[in-house]
Amino acid sequence: MEFPILSTLTWLPVVGGIAVLLAARQGTALPRQIALAVAIITFVLSTLLWRPSLFSTATMQFEEFVPWIDAFNVNYHLGIDGISLPLILLTTFMTVLVIAAGWEVIRDKTAQYMAAFLIMEGIMIGVFSALDAMLFYVFWEAMLIPMFLIIGVWGGPNRVYATIKFFLYTFLGSVFMLVSLIYLYFQTGSYEILDLHAVGLSLREQQWIFVAFLLAFAVKIPMFPVHTWLPDAHVEAPTGGSVILAAIMLKMGGYGFLRFSLPVTPDASQSFDWLLILLSLIAIVYVGFVALVQQDMKKLIAYSSIAHMGFVTLGLFIPFTIFRSTGAFSGIALGMEGGMVQMISHGLISGALFLCVGVMYDRVHSRQIADYGGVVNTMPKFAGFMVLFALANAGLPGTSGFVGEFMVILSSFKANFWFAFLAATTLVLGAAYMLWLVKRTIFGEIANDNVAQLSDINGREFVVLGTLAVSVLVLGLWPAPLVDVMHGTIDNLIEHMMQSKL
């Protein structure tokens, strides 16, 4: 038997998290060190997965299979393809940074904080590698618990409202997914995700299942109009919580569409694609305007996240329109890979932006834009990073933020001129809200005493932001490796979903 690397990646952080909890009594130094070590080891191990040659086809790799609940044919089945691989790496990468970012900032219950992030890391890797639908569901729901605790314990003053809103929203969505999964089990006698892909379903059945999945995934992404939990959750969450929420948890929705909605219910996806496209475009334009007028930095970035995730759903759901209007597959893969690239890129950039806000919040204890101004005068290094990430978020070519948007815009032009037109408004809107934020917070004369007393980022913060900056630039200047690992899986998925199940 091969080394069970996916199980190791899933359970090592969980076990590590428990170890950190046990070490809590030893003060803060030891738990922190354990946490960082576990996170780094997990990240290093996860890089072993990066073997591009394995992912040239859609076949699942690194599979593990252990029967779990025989009565219902539930199995502990793990495996990854070209869609899950980049997301797993993103998870392990961001967790290291989040642990490092919380190093001396979290004074209260440090060990528990670190432990929560490690446990969450393991669960998220589980979500991305589960090949059994029930196992997937267990991880999917389990993920809520640590996030609930992170916001509820280390969050801001209005954290209770935010956590309940967050929990109910996402839980409500996923309950419908559970019903669908059970229905599918009755149809196939299996919870194997790949079996579900193959099952034949009538259009009506597919539509019901699609809508149930949609509720679960749309809330997670989040799509308009079920997005209002996100700004509240971000505002109340501690910095690390916001980072993981934006960087990884939102990607679960996009992953769900790719893993379930499109392959299991292709005909329903086709019949409802207008709705998804409409909601994506609303997210890009409407939410772009909303982001413009935010006074709270975290809310602004949260809204910008929603707008950027609009590109993900747009890229994933334009294939059918492209095929209808051009009669060819050309341009479809571009959009779907663009959506995937957008997920990874947004993970890095939004994470970085929330860390930047965290850096400012740690010093001034305010997230209000009006409380800042002229930060560059006292924090020149930090200002450099902030401007870089803001521009990356505005989709500047040369940064990762450009890649996905460019691909999706090119692709959506093939579907319809107006899709591309509305999507491209992000060039103006994104630049407007990000650079206006920069103008008001970073540039200008020193606005007040708080800003005058700011000290520039220390070595630890520099390393965290610097690592992200390098990643954002590398991915922007050379996205080929990332796109290459997806080709096999995406091509297979397109073939599968463009084929009617009826």
Binding site: K165, Y169, F289, L292, S330, V376, N377, P397, V428, W478
Partner: protein
Amino acid sequence: MKAALITIVLAPLVASVIAGLFGRRIGRAGAHWITILAVGLSFALSAWVLWQSMSFGGVLFNESIYTWMVSDGLRMEVGFLVDRLTALMMTVVTFVSWMVHIYTIGYMQDDPGYQRFFSYISLFTFSMLMLVMANNFLQLFFGWEAVGLVSYLLIGFWYKKPTAIYANLKAFLVNRVGDFGFILGIASIVYFTGSLDYGQVFERSGALSQGTVEIFSGNAWSAITVTCILLFIGAMGKSAQIPLHVWLPDSMEGPTPISALIHAATMVTAGIFMVARMSPLFELSEVALVTVLVIGALTAFLMGLVGVVQNDIKRIIAYSTLSQLGYMFVALGASAYAAGIFHLMTHAFFKALLFLAAGSVIIGMHHEQDIRKMGGLRKYMPITYWTALLGSLALIGFPGFSGFYSKDAIIEAVHLSHLPGHGIVYLAVLSGVFITALYSFRLIFLVFHGQERFDEHTRSQLKESPWVVTVPLILLAIPSVVIGMLTIGPLLFGDWFGSALQVLPRHDVLSELGKEFHGPLAMMTHALQQWPLWFALAGVATAWFFYLKRPDLPQSIAQTLAPLYRILDRKYYFDEFNQQVFANGAQQAGRLFWRVGDETIIDRTVVNGSARAVDWISGRLRGIQSGYLYHYAFAMVIGLAVLLAWLILGA
């Protein structure tokens, strides 16, 4: 060749990174030495490439350097295309950039951001080279946005100045509006040709000219027209054409060296270069050509007029730049691409010269920029005066100077054009000559001649600028005078650009013009019989009369023509309109969506509403569970009765 090209591009980038990241360690001298050497190296190699391309002709190099990514069969690459058009642009860009680097040593002497400034302008040189050397649309867009980024950073270089950080945000956003059109144009090209590579796209341009885009259902528009106009919107942003010109005058908030480099000589001409590069596409759509022609003419005429009433020395030159860019677009619209590029080149030299001369004046005047507070500077700053005078003569198209050849060629090309509307455009560019001469010599007379209108303290410190400032002035003055005479023959009428610029025979105004061309000297004598020269002289004479002979007159004229003066002074109210409609409108829309859409409808009504509904229903239900047995028994009896009744009656 490949190694040379990569060095040309990377040298400024490496220098920029070193000066930017390790600026403190290498010190001020280190920062300027490394960037000047790097850009100098780029210039030397570019000149060599130009020389090579002159001896070989055709396409010197067209290869990809690395593959950015391949998705869906669409190759996205970084690669260089070097033909004479590229080589010319590279040389002009690196030469002006090099001069500006040297000049900066003097201009930014006391600035705390010295190293950062060198890092930025070197980064700009890299971006601009990427733009002009691209062999595909992806890299073109990369360079396009990268120069925009550096422009943003440099306009806001003095980040404490509120006007500067307002201007840089405005510049970036207005450019983004252009890029919005540009990216859609690129998407359209990919849609119809399936490629981003220039060569392949031009080969398959037939697909574009036959294709249609249905933007409004039922209305099929020619794909080539839609594509070219979308690309042109990009050019309008970057090259500041009406109505996307509003950012350029404000960009003068940045340090003067970058006004010369970015906002006069190089970046703002990117749009011209792009349209010329796309000549195989634009030629296929007369609608697009007419659009270019008309927008260019409007900008040339209207913006020149605004220049006449400005009082800030840099803003006058900025409006002049807008107007001259308009001229270049007029040339492109008339299919005289070579004339557009020719004017781009001559303008790069003389306009960079004028800006640097203005900067020299600003140094001398201790950062006073209002020309009403200058006067008589000629005797204090002779080198600045003479070079500025040469630059102005070139700008107004005085016979023999470089601007004379390039501008006359444009005006004559429009005259010969057959496109609809060329008659009015001809009048606009012709009267533009008068306006150009008027504002140029208004500036010269008010700054260098006449009464000294500054205080004793300023006078006592007035002196000529140091050599790092004056040497670039002199080096730029030389091409400003002679480059037109030397190059007009081959550039315009000798098919020098070869296949880089493609013109359909029925649009080929330059070859028609070429029939009347008998060498640069003959063109000078011929000018005596032409309108433009007399318009220019009339402009100079008017400026002399109003600003030296009767300096009291302009005031009273402004009062008599108050409404007209106000319109010009407010720059046709473009800024007010944009602020009201777009800036405020967007915020109002945002607030409406947020407060009404998100907060009231979604959150308060639906989300909290459903929570309240659950609360309310459970409140009612709680009342039913009273705990009294007889309540339950009573409910059961009633239920039983209803059920029985329903069964009996139903049966």
